[in-house]
């Protein structure tokens, strides 16, 4: 999603001089569209994510809209306190671009996985988390959120080829996007594992289960009622995330179900154990952690009382 996203950002920067892009020395073959168009508004700060966040805070206080760029854990975990005390506390429009998320950097190992970013950011009241399901949605999401007054975190997967059928790049502020009209089961997904969720839905349909896919691409305090409006139509929901199972999407959905007293069972599919040193492709890591499309579908069948082999 990086290159289409940065192309869109470059177009926005053409119209608005407040947009500045900072990177902590990452983004080879991804940021050139911007850096070559606006060399005076592009800064490689070096390998220093804490300073990058502080600099962005100082720039934003003076009226700029700084975008800071790195791989998810370096963009979020390393400078977390700088995010909290900087743009959050000062209510400034700093934008954090985290590349990867989940197991997108599969063979790179634990240092590059993004398994807790959504959890630790969504607990900050006022924070916007934008986790697009594909590159089309990433560009639409940027167009509708770049000028928000509060901080925004963009969690961008690396895939910029495949798209989610039926999503057609739709993105709306605080509103989840629905694909399908089945009522047997709701599959809820976020970001770059939505392809696995969509695959699960397809497998379920082949077994006679009609489901709906709810793509949550924007997390914000204001969107809980919109989630409840969908959840109240289902008895069974499976959440899917490339994230530790606690704190992220599954926890959010469980909170909404509990707070609204909805009669909906929630099964959370996410990463349940700390990575044990084994690495591999994103798809391999999904299977190792039980969040491949097939595994999600099997869990759904089990819950619906249908044996996987039936």
């Amino acid at each position: 999603m990086r290159r289409p996203f940065i192309r869109t950002l470059t177009e926005l920067a053409r119209k608005d001089e407040r947009i500045v892009l900072l990177t902590a020395d990452l983004g080879f073959m991804a940021l050139e569209t911007f850096s070559e168009s606006f060399p005076d508004r592009f800064f490689n700060v070096g390998v220093s994510e804490q300073n990058m966040m502080g600099v962005a805070t100082g720039l934003a206080e003076a009226g700029f809209i700084p975008f800071v760029y790195s791989i998810v854990p370096f963009a979020v975990l390393r400078p977390y306190e700088f995010i909290r005390n900087g743009p959050m506390d000062h209510a400034l429009p700093v934008r954090i671009i985290g590349i990867g998320g989940g197991f997108d950097y599969g063979t790179n190992g634990i240092s590059h996985y993004g398994l807790e970013d959504i959890g630790i950011l969504r607990i900050l009241p006022g924070m916007n988390i934008v986790a697009p399901a594909d590159h089309l949605q990433a560009c639409e999401a940027l167009k509708s959120t770049w000028n928000l007054p509060m901080p925004v975190y963009y969690r961008l997967g690396k895939d910029e080829v495949n798209t989610i059928a039926g999503l057609d790049g739709r993105f709306e502020f605080a509103i989840p996007q629905l694909i399908g009209k089945g009522t047997d089961i709701l599959i809820v997904s976020i970001g770059n594992v939505t392809n696995e969720a969509a695959e699960a839905l397809k497998i379920l349909e082949g077994r006679g289960v009609q489901g709906t896919l709810m793509v949550v691409s924007h997390i914000h305090d204001s969107m809980r009622d919109n989630l409840a409006d969908v959840l109240k139509m289902f008895c069974l929901a499976i959440t899917v995330e490339g994230h530790f199972v606690n704190g992220g999407l599954g926890s959010l959905i469980s909170e909404v179900v509990a707070e609204n007293g909805l009669p909906c069972k929630v099964l959370r599919c996410g990463v349940r154990t700390f990575p044990n040193g084994l690495s591999g492709s994103q798809s391999c890591m999904h299977t190792l952690n039980g969040i491949s499309g097939r595994q999600i579908a099997e869990k759904g069948l089990e819950l619906l009382g249908k044996m996987p082999g039936e």
Partner: protein
């Protein structure tokens, strides 16, 4: 002792006694630096002016010295000052940007210079002549992020950025030489590409004069290594670790006030 500094010291003692809180020694360490900045150096037509000089108290725990300066500037009245550390007050132990005059909230060490670097870069991009001053403690330089910001500022030649190190040789639990030695402070900054000047951190005229000459050195950021005495002005607090945290009892308070008035 400068009359203004003595007045600010009296406010620091009065308010910390009234609120029964500590950090007195740190506030007394920086009070002359803050007096010099707010009374002589900073160009602030009004606290909300976008083109004002910025000031960041990176060692946020000395905020009481800042509130004293705000009172002298008439940005705070006595009634507001008297809410220091009270319930539902914007005047907490550490400065909050919701208080008029505070540009950036601080309190967690190692962040101020990074924000200051961004503020200085912003000023340059907006072709503004405004300057950015950041006051750090010497022990704060234990934080790696200080040096990230130091490298960035030097690389980008941010000569509108002026850091001031409150070199009192102390930190929360001991003397810096025993905790984590920060000797040769000015050489450390020079090695990072900064224009470093040693100055007496209690001599308002000397600091004002030094800052005035900085504009002659272009293309690199500036740092004043301000040699200070922790607890300066109250003999029994000077260089004593316990006054990082301790509040005063009645007797100590009376002695401290007498010393300040006597020296003024």
């Amino acid at each position: 002792m400068d009359r203004l500094s003595a007045d600010c010291r009296r406010i620091i003692l009065e308010q910390s006694k009234r609120a029964n809180v500590g950090h007195i020694g740190s506030a007394l360490s920086v009070v002359d630096i803050i007096t010099a900045l707010y009374m002589r150096v900073l160009r602030i037509p009004s606290p909300g002016d976008p083109d004002r000089d910025r000031f960041i108290l990176s060692k946020g725990h000395a905020a009481l010295a800042l509130y004293a300066a705000f009172y002298m500037k008439k940005w705070l009245n006595q009634e507001e000052l008297n809410t220091y550390c009270c319930n539902e007050s914007y005047l907490g132990v550490h400065p909050d940007h919701k208080l008029k005059g505070i540009d950036f909230s601080t309190g967690s060490l190692g962040m101020g210079l990074t924000m200051g670097a961004g503020a200085a870069l912003a000023a340059r991009m907006q072709t503004s002549k405004r300057r950015v001053f950041v006051l750090l403690s010497d022990a704060e330089c234990n934080e790696g992020s200080v040096w990230e910001a130091a490298m960035f500022s030097a690389h980008h030649g941010l000569d509108n950025l002026i850091a001031i190190i409150d070199l009192n040789g102390q930190q929360a639990l001991g003397y810096t030489r025993n905790v984590l030695a920060m000797n040769s402070m000015s050489e450390r900054w020079r090695a990072f590409g900064w224009d470093a000047r040693d100055v007496d951190g209690h001599d308002i005229q000397a600091m004002t004069d030094t800052i005035e000459t900085l504009k002659e050195t272009r293309g690199i950021p500036h740092v004043l290594i301000a040699h200070t005495t922790f607890g300066k002005g109250v003999s029994f607090m000077e260089r004593q670790i316990k006054w990082h945290y301790m509040p005063m009892n009645d007797e100590e308070y009376e002695i401290a006030l007498r010393e300040i008035d006597h020296r003024a």
